[in-house]
Every structure is written in C-alpha cells, then in structure tokens.
C-alpha cells in the first residue's frame, strides 16, 4: 500500500499545473479551484492504495473527467438560465447589456492570467491555449506539460494514439499561428 506521504508529495508537485489546466479549460478561477480539489479528493478516496507510479495517470484521468462534468453541469445550467431569461426578457434588456459589459471589463481587469503573468509572453501563450479546442488543449497539455507519452495520453483521453498525434500537431500549429499574429515569432517571442 502506498503511504500518504507519497500522495502528498505527488499532489504538491502537480497541483499548480492542474489548477492552470482547469483555468484554461473552464476560464473561471473559483471553478478551477473546485475542480482541482474534487480531483484530489477522488484520488485520495478511491486510489490512495495504488502504487505512486500510477498517480499521474489516475489523477489526470480524474481531472479531465471532472472538467467534463463541469461542462455538462454548465450546459444544463445555461439551458435553464436561457429559458428563464427568455420568459423574463423585455424591460431590463438595456440594463443587462450594461451590466454584462461592466462584468466583462472587470473580468479582463481581474483575470489572474492578465494580472499575474510574469511577462507578456506568458499571458499571450495562456490566452492562445485557452482559445484552443478542448481536445487539442487537453492533448497538448498532457503530452507536453505533463510529459506523458502518446500511449498514456491516449489512455487518459480515451482515444487512439493517432488521434493524440493529430490533436497535438494541430494544437502546436494553432498556437504558432496565434502567437505569430500577436508578434511572437516563436515560444520565446
């Protein structure tokens, strides 16, 4: 049985990257924290007895599934919000638009990526990663950031190795194009 120190050490190593991954995926800091915490709790509850070598794969699978669950919940919530707002729409439409603009401006200002970026390049890269399609982003981050090989990435994503290669290739290409548009010739700007 794995001892809990191994788990603590693993989580300490992976938590920041996991948080960033979740932020790129859901674009909401608080939701990202909840997702990472859920993933940690699930790993501790169900798989703490597994050998530590299996933690990275298990944790990534749990994290990706938790992110997908979040998307599903958001979809249902958005459906009901749209339905209710459609019924209640009318008089306060103008106010809503103003409020939305204000919120978006505040979000841009308070966005941790913008506030905390150590440099301009980081902010640009993170913005480009956020704009990637979900599967491409997932493949890119698992393959290069989590340093998983193609087979492991395919297992976590539940797809073929060929799909992983395609997603990764397209992701890198899309990032290169997006960053060139922003004036970064390569990853270092």
């Amino acid at each position: 049985m794995a001892d809990t120190n191994a788990l603590a050490q693993f989580l300490a190593e992976v938590e920041r990257r996991a948080y960033r991954q979740a932020v790129y995926a859901v674009r909401d800091e608080q939701a990202a924290l909840d997702i990472v915490q859920d993933a940690m709790m699930k790993l501790a509850e169900k798989y703490c007895a597994q050998p530590p070598a299996e933690f990275p794969m298990l944790f990534q699978r749990i994290l990706q599934n938790t992110i997908r669950d979040y998307y599903r919940r958001q979809k249902v919530r958005n459906f009901w919000v749209t339905a209710v707002s459609f019924i209640a729409s009318g008089s306060d439409e103008q106010e809503d638009e103003e409020a939305l603009e204000h919120t978006q401006a505040a979000d841009e200002k308070d966005n941790p990526i913008n506030v905390l970026a150590s440099g301009k390049n980081l902010a640009l890269i993170e913005a480009a990663i956020e704009k990637l399609p979900a599967r491409q982003r997932e493949a890119f981050l698992l393959r290069y950031w989590e340093e998983m090989d193609i087979a492991e990435t395919a297992e976590v994503m539940g797809c073929s190795e060929g799909s992983v290669k395609t997603h990764c290739s397209r992701a890198v290409h899309a990032l290169a194009v997006a960053l060139q548009d922003k004036g970064m010739a390569d990853g270092q700007g």
């Binding site: 703490c48 150590s118 990663i129 393959r143 290169a176």
Partner: protein, 128 residues
C-alpha cells in the same frame, strides 16, 4: 518548424509562470491537498482496521480448527440422514402410486366384476 521543440519552448514559459500564482490560490491549493491527504489517511486506517479484523478472525479459526471440523462432520451426517429420509419417503409414495395404477389399469376384464364367482371369492378373501 520542429513542433516538439516549439511546444517545449512554450511549456518552459508556462512552467516559469507557475511561480506567479496569487498567494490565496496557492493557499487554497495547499488546503485542498491537506484535505485530500487527511482523507487518504482515514482510508489507510480503515484498511488497517479491516486487515486487523480479518487477521483476528483467521487466528480464531486456526485455534478452533479441530472443533470446527468435528462440527462440520456432524452437520454433514445430519444432512445425509435428512437426505436419506426424504428419499425413502418419496420411494414409499412412488410404490403406492404404482400399486394404485396397476389396480386401475390391471388385466382383469371389466366383465369379471359381473361374475358371481368373483363376488364370492371377494367375500371369502375378506375373511383372511
């Protein structure tokens, strides 16, 4: 373009940025990790408790092995006796049914019952 090299350059920038997380985010992540580790600790203790329980049970079985084997033999004997009893009971029932069938579908022609000698023989045989 060497895509792997380019990707690694991007990842290097992302890794550099990990140190710039806001303190409250770092603190929340640490709290989440501590909660997860506490839960894992509970799971490990509960597993140990289960292991100790099963160990005690196996010790008890080892100590009382002779008695348990004897009890098992007695139970097997009782079960065998019960099976025999049930089987013989059903055999008796089968025999009775066979006799009834034979009587009903016997070779004796129906006209025999109209024969006066038969009535006489029946009356005589009831004396036995």
């Amino acid at each position: 373009m060497d895509k792997d090299k380019y990707a690694k350059e991007l990842i290097a920038v992302l890794n550099d940025g990990l140190g710039s997380l806001r303190p409250e985010v770092t603190r929340n992540l640490q709290l989440a990790r501590e909660r997860a580790c506490a839960l894992a600790e509970q799971q490990v203790h509960s597993h140990h408790f289960k292991s100790a329980h099963s160990l005690a049970w196996s010790d008890w079985v080892r100590q009382h092995r002779t008695g348990l084997v004897g009890a098992l033999l007695v139970m097997v004997l009782f079960a065998g006796a019960a099976v025999l009893q049930t089987t013989s009971g059903s055999n008796d029932d089968d025999d009775t049914a066979a006799i009834d069938t034979e009587l009903l579908t016997g070779d004796l022609p129906v006209n025999a019952y109209l024969d006066g000698h038969l009535s006489k023989w029946v009356n005589n045989s009831s004396d036995y």
